[in-house]
Amino acid sequence: MTANAPGAPVVRLTGVSKAFGATGSSSTTPTVALSNISLDIQRGEFVSLIGPSGCGKSTLLRLVGDLTEPTGGTVQVNGKPAGQARLDRDYGMVFQSPTLFDWRTVEENVRLPLELFGYDNAARAERTSEMLELVRLTDFARHRPYQLSGGMQQRVAIARALAFSPSLLLMDEPFGALDEMTRERMNSEVLSIWARTGITVIFVTHSIPEAVFLSSRVAVMSARPGRITRVVDVDLPRPRGLETRESTAYFSFITEVREALRAGQGTETDLASVERTAAEGLIG
């Protein structure tokens, strides 16, 4: 969307911190959600943020998307402050819940951003049908969201996020509420969409296999305060599929990420309890 120097990162985080409840008063100690985070994400990368509940991975994603502001450091997107990037409509967002408007049909939901951005009718219709084809929901264009399964609803949300060709797709545990089988199918689906569109993706998850399967890089985070303890380059061959999930390289990357999580976490028992809480749901 923006013409900046080739090779310049799409996202540049520099010493980013976020504290909650710090508004001026010294009486209450602020909760430090994120501490001194620096990370560059290149065009076309697929980067996962993984960590235990409460490590601030969702907060980090929301900082990139300018849904919340950092208390320290800078967030640059396409060479601009995150706020400007949001105004320039550089982001597509997918949340854990599909967040579809239930009074709109599937195609009307996908069309929503196009209406807001002033696309003309012809362009709206064209983009909408392209997107529905991309997520293989053409036959369900006239259905209402509640008539669709959870996985299909999330595919509608992805189509909606991509409809206006944003340069950055932010996904906040999009498949956390889906069963394992559906989640694996959705993972393959996302990879094929990513390959076809060449979009840059930041993906928040607490599933190690999911992070490894999808990502070109996995940023491992630890809690209290939230920081990136390690970045694992996942150079598994692409396209990735069932064979990937059964390859030894895949398992060694899983082990690597798991050990990185454990190293950032401290003792074994701590991690076990964290995984239990993580399994119970995301932290807001």
Binding site: G65, D66, L67, R86, L87, D88, R89, Y91, G92, M93, F95, S97, T99, F101, D102, W103, R104, L112, P113, E115, L116, F117, H143, R144, Y146, Q147
Partner: protein, 295 residues
């Protein structure tokens, strides 16, 4: 996700609902006549007593509770002896007169309610400043307020419309406020990620989300506005309208109780019809949701 409007099971077919309605009416009549059969005045045919109820329920006398057929017969007799118009014809005209004021009050109250709710949602200061007064306004009994409005505005239709508006705006304000705030925080964040303007958020998200709430409120105000118009007409001593008919006939009650009962029947019928009209609009406007009719 769902904002249910509990209006009975929609899977119930129209015919079955109509049957239930008719059964309800029949039951009501049976209860009415049953009470009279047990404890009313003696039944006479051509002056001769054919049935003497075993007990005496004062309330069930022919003056307090005329037989339903007496009420019905009266409807189709002339309003006053020698008059050309029947009682039903007269009441129909008065109902139309009242409906006009009620409809204007319903519309103004609805617009006022929506406007207030939109202002409250967007400006917290206005909400904090005004909501206490909006609530306080509803604690004043309409019976106390109506004469005051008539005194200030005069004995005319305007005062009637004001009373109807007054009774209509509050439910709409409260329901709309709730409806405009009903969207999921994620949906608002989604709109924020689109850098959507406040107006866009209002039109694309808040308004559609609030429609079920609005329709529920409008069903309440459809009847409340009629009550308001009738009270306004009564307080203002207007020369037309169901309010006038009710006041007038209650003065004649001991002589002709059927007339008052006829006016009451017409008043409630008008309310039911208006409620039904809003329900029809609701079915068209609010798209079926999970748990309701399949799309």
């Amino acid at each position: 996700m769902t904002a249910g409007t509990a209006a009975g099971s929609p899977r119930l077919s129209r015919r079955r609902r109509l049957t239930f309605f008719l059964l309800f009416i029949v039951g009501l009549v049976a209860l009415w006549e049953g009470t009279k059969l047990l404890g009313g005045d003696p039944y006479r045919i051509d002056g001769e007593v054919v049935w003497t109820p075993p007990i005496d329920i004062g309330m069930a006398s022919d003056v307090n509770m005329p037989h339903f057929w007496v009420i019905f017969e009266r409807l189709f007799k002339p309003l006053t002896s020698g008059a050309e118009q029947t009682l039903a014809g007269y009441l129909f005209d008065q109902a139309l007169y009242t409906l006009r004021s009620a409809f204007i009050g319903f519309t103004l109250g609805g617009l006022l309610g929506i406007g207030l709710a939109v202002a409250f949602v967007h400006f917290g200061l206005i909400e904090r400043a005004f909501v206490p007064y909006v609530v306080a306004s509803q604690t004043i009994p309409i019976i106390a307020l109506a004469p005051l409005i008539v005194y200030l505005v005069g004995q005319n239709v305007t005062s009637v419309v004001i009373v109807a508006t007054y009774l209509s705006f509050f439910p709409v304000t409260i329901a709309m406020l709730r409806g405009l705030r009903s969207p999921d925080p994620r949906a608002l964040e989604l709109m924020r990620s689109y850098a959507a303007s406040r107006r866009a958020v209002l039109w694309k998200l808040r308004f559609p989300a609030s429609l079920p709430y609005l329709m529920t409120a409008l069903k309440i105000t459809a009847t409340a506005s009629i009550v308001g118009a009738i009270v306004g007409e009564g307080s203002g001593s207007l020369q037309a309208g169901l309010g006038r008919a009710l006041v007038f006939f209650s003065q004649q009650y001991t002589v002709a109780p059927e007339k008052l009962w006829g006016a009451i029947l017409f008043s409630s019928a008008v309310g039911i019809v208006c409620f039904g009209l809003v329900r029809l609009v609701e079915l068209r406007v609010v798209r079926a949701r999970p748990g309701e009719e399949p799309g």
